[in-house]
């Protein structure tokens, strides 16, 4: 927990505290991400070879050729999509059990990052599928269709979260939704699998590719970099959720304090003849 909220809660801070969601942890994660992205680009575009191997007929070559370079984004994004949305479902379950806002905010942060990564997974997958499979979209593919449903479910989750409501009630509804997604996905997967009992998808990308050492290394590097990036995003997003909740209650507190102050000293009637409400309303907005 200290990674998300800082190490020493409650210690008084100088008023000059930086007004952002960063800390030393995020700066380290951010630096690692930036260095990793540079390394990943070098490996993905320059050092790693295109995928090609001798075809069945002499003199021909088959494979994904340079399209394999899309895999270095697609596979890491897919893996971290599942991790993020899985964490969201788990955090939702824990929230229902413990009822602590901490888990609710974690679920929110993970869902948002998961949806962004899921969009990247789908987009890069389609762009890769066009040259390699010859189609943008393939209904017969189980993972493709399941991932799209996954995206829709958690986009709905975020849509529900964006509706203004009492924090406690919203957290409970969201946790049911987050958990519901995890309940649904295995059923969707199974049904799509039976629906078109065939799959174009690489059973495992690692087996399908002719594994050059550098190809494998680049893929693993991509997974690592995307993981650090996802963690960096998660920490910032979590703190943002914290700030949102604080700002909400701070606005309320300010409005309350103002009203109390007005009630305590009914003196100083100005030309407005006792119109106290506008200022309180402004503070609460």
């Amino acid at each position: 927990m200290s990674i998300l909220l800082g190490r020493s809660p409650g210690r008084p801070t100088p008023e000059a505290a930086p007004a952002h969601t960063g800390s030393r942890t995020t700066r380290i994660l951010g630096a690692v991400t930036l260095a990793g992205v540079v390394g990943l680009c070098l490996c993905a575009f320059i050092f790693s070879p295109p995928d090609s191997r001798p075809g069945p007929e002499a003199g021909t070559r088959i494979g994904q050729f340079d399209a394999v370079r899309l895999m270095y984004v697609h596979v890491p994004a897919a893996i971290w999509t599942y991790v993020a949305l899985g964490t969201c479902a788990m955090a939702s379950a824990v929230y229902l059990w413990r009822r602590s806002a901490w888990w609710d905010r974690l679920a929110h942060a993970c869902a948002e990052i998961g949806v962004v990564l899921c969009a990247i997974t789908l987009i890069t997958g389609m762009i890769w599928g066009r040259p390699v499979w010859g189609t943008w979209w393939e209904w017969g593919d189980v993972r493709l269709v399941t991932t799209l449903v996954l995206f829709l479910v958690y986009a709905g989750y975020l849509a529900m979260r964006s509706v203004p409501a009492a924090p406690e009630a919203r957290a409970r509804r969201a946790s049911i939704l987050g958990l519901g997604g995890a309940v649904l996905i295995p059923i969707v997967n199974r049904s799509v699998e039976w629906w078109e009992n065939r799959t174009l998808h690489q059973q495992s990308t690692l087996e399908e590719l002719r594994i050059e050492d550098l190809t494998l290394f680049t893929l693993v590097l991509g997974i690592f970099v995307m993981g650090v990036l996802a963690l960096w995003l998660a920490v910032h997003r979590f703190r943002l959720a914290w700030l949102e909740a604080e700002a909400e209650s701070a606005g309320l507190r300010a409005a309350l304090a103002e009203r109390r102050a007005e009630a305590a000293e009914p003196a100083a009637p100005t030309a407005g003849s006792g119109e106290g409400t506008p200022s309180a309303g402004a503070a609460g907005s």
Partner: protein, 222 residues
């Protein structure tokens, strides 16, 4: 069990009195079926071939309206509070409401089934399979609709939010019920009973999940 039936009977009685189902939802269902017919051109063989899928799309769209209606009834006049005060467990309230919704959906499906036979020239070859898979799908739709309905109900934007939440959840039902009906109507060479199993699994999972989740959701409302 008596309480479940009481809640269900209450919902059905409201429907009988208000006639919303008869005068608004049922015409919507048939209109959907007619529009889907227009979309596929007046090609008799194509219509028959796709009749199972079109039927279930119409059912799911109609189910959205019915689910919306089922929670709107509860939300108007804070009737949900009275239900909570009646000391009936949340799981029982859920079961009762889902049962009432399932009964309404079954009536609508009957209507749509007749319309499908008349308009799309569909022929039901395996009656038992059609009824069994429709029953399983209906329970699943009703359970999911009741759960997600109460989830979206207190929010001002429920008319737009509920479809966003519910339609992806219906995806496996649409796939399963379409395949099972394809077998029952003789338009798809698949094992319909296997798909009936999947529909049953969906219904079971959502009935259990809904019954467990309903408590925290009702709490959230108050």
């Amino acid at each position: 069990m008596r309480e479940v039936l009481l809640v269900a009977a209450k919902d059905l009685r409201i429907e009988l009195r208000s006639r919303v189902l008869l005068f608004q939802v049922a015409p919507f269902a048939v209109a959907t079926l007619v529009l889907l017919g227009f979309a596929l051109d007046a090609d008799r063989s194509a219509l028959r071939h796709f009749s199972a899928g079109l039927f279930w799309v119409a059912v799911l769209l109609t189910a959205l309206l019915a689910a919306q209606r089922s929670v709107a009834v509860e939300h108007a006049g804070r009737a949900a509070d009275a239900l909570l005060l009646s000391a009936t467990g949340p799981a029982r309230i859920f079961a009762g409401k889902a049962l009432a919704l399932a009964a309404q959906l079954a009536a609508l499906e009957l209507l749509l089934g007749v319309a499908m036979v008349v308009l799309y020239d569909a022929r039901i070859e395996h009656f038992g399979l059609a009824v069994a898979s429709a029953a399983a799908a209906t329970v699943g739709i009703a359970a999911a609709g009741t759960l997600y309905g109460v989830l979206a109900a207190p929010l001002g934007v429920r008319e737009t939010l509920l479809p966003v939440l519910l339609l992806p959840v219906f995806a496996p039902v649409l796939i399963g019920a379409t395949r099972a009906f394809g077998d029952a109507l003789g338009t798809a060479a698949v094992n319909g009973w296997a798909w009936f199993g999947l529909l049953g699994l969906f219904a079971l999972v959502y009935a259990v999940f809904g019954a467990l989740a309903y408590g925290p959701l009702l709490e959230a409302e108050t």
